[in-house]
């Protein structure tokens, strides 16, 4: 079989969805999407460097429900990606590596990242 015809890896069509595989794919998806957040931050910095008028325009542009939702999802994506990255470092040092620990730490990861996201969104006051 030609290399270009090889199935994608991980082979998503064969694996039965499990919490560990779903969280692993979510890690990649959040990592990919966080690039849009990087792009957004770079635009924010550019508007700041160009002066008060452009900065105020950027703040006004970001001050609507859609952008607030995007920012909230971005916060969740970042916290999830960061904490799952730490979980991966534990695995690299052969901690929490059996099936049960991997599933439990996965459930804890989702709950913790959701909880911390809500706390951070409230602290920053995005929806105020």
């Amino acid at each position: 079989m030609k290399k270009s015809e090889l199935p994608i890896s991980p082979h998503l069509q064969i694996y039965k969805p499990q919490i560990t595989s779903i969280l692993s794919i979510t890690h990649r998806v959040t990592g990919l999407c966080l690039n849009f957040l990087i792009f957004f931050v770079s635009l924010w910095l550019l508007s700041l460097s160009l002066g008060e008028t452009s900065y105020n325009y950027f703040i006004e542009f970001s001050n609507n429900l859609f952008m607030k939702l995007i920012m909230s999802i971005g916060i969740f994506g970042f916290l999830y990606h960061a904490m799952n990255g730490i979980r991966h470092i534990f695995w690299d040092f052969v901690f929490l590596l059996n099936n049960k620990s991997a599933s439990i730490s996965g459930i804890m990861l989702v709950l913790l990242s959701l909880g911390l996201s809500v706390l951070l969104i409230l602290k920053i006051g995005i929806f105020l």
């Binding site: 090889l6 990649r28 690039n35 792009f39 910095l45 460097s49 990255g85």
Partner: protein, 109 residues
């Protein structure tokens, strides 16, 4: 040159740790100012240490992102021509962002 996956893996983890600590520090540092205020935000960036740490943070984030995107491209795109195009687009995107950030930081400090 042979691609060394172990070094890449170690580099990606180290970058993640560097920017995680920097991000925590900068979040606490920027917490005292109102980001809606142009004067307060530009004053924060006029401090050379803050700007330098922000620069290190952004550099490490972009390098980490580059390595992560490379591994996603490696795993999911096997057509050589398409892969080449996507890598060029990805590199252009990251370099453009880096130039914008460096240019902005120079103007602010």
């Amino acid at each position: 040159m042979k691609y060394n996956y172990s070094t890449t893996w170690l580099f990606q983890k180290l970058l993640a740790l560097i920017f995680l600590f920097l991000l925590i520090y900068l979040t606490f540092s920027i917490n005292n100012i109102s980001l809606n205020s142009y004067n307060e935000t530009s004053y924060w960036f006029s401090n050379k240490l803050n700007s330098f740490l922000f620069f290190v943070l952004f550099t490490s984030i972009l390098l980490h992102s580059n390595l992560g995107l490379n591994s996603i491209i490696d795993d999911y795109i096997h057509k050589r021509e398409l892969k080449k195009i996507i890598i060029i687009l990805k590199n252009s995107f990251l370099v453009a962002i880096y130039i914008v950030v460096v240019f902005s930081l120079i103007l602010l400090t």
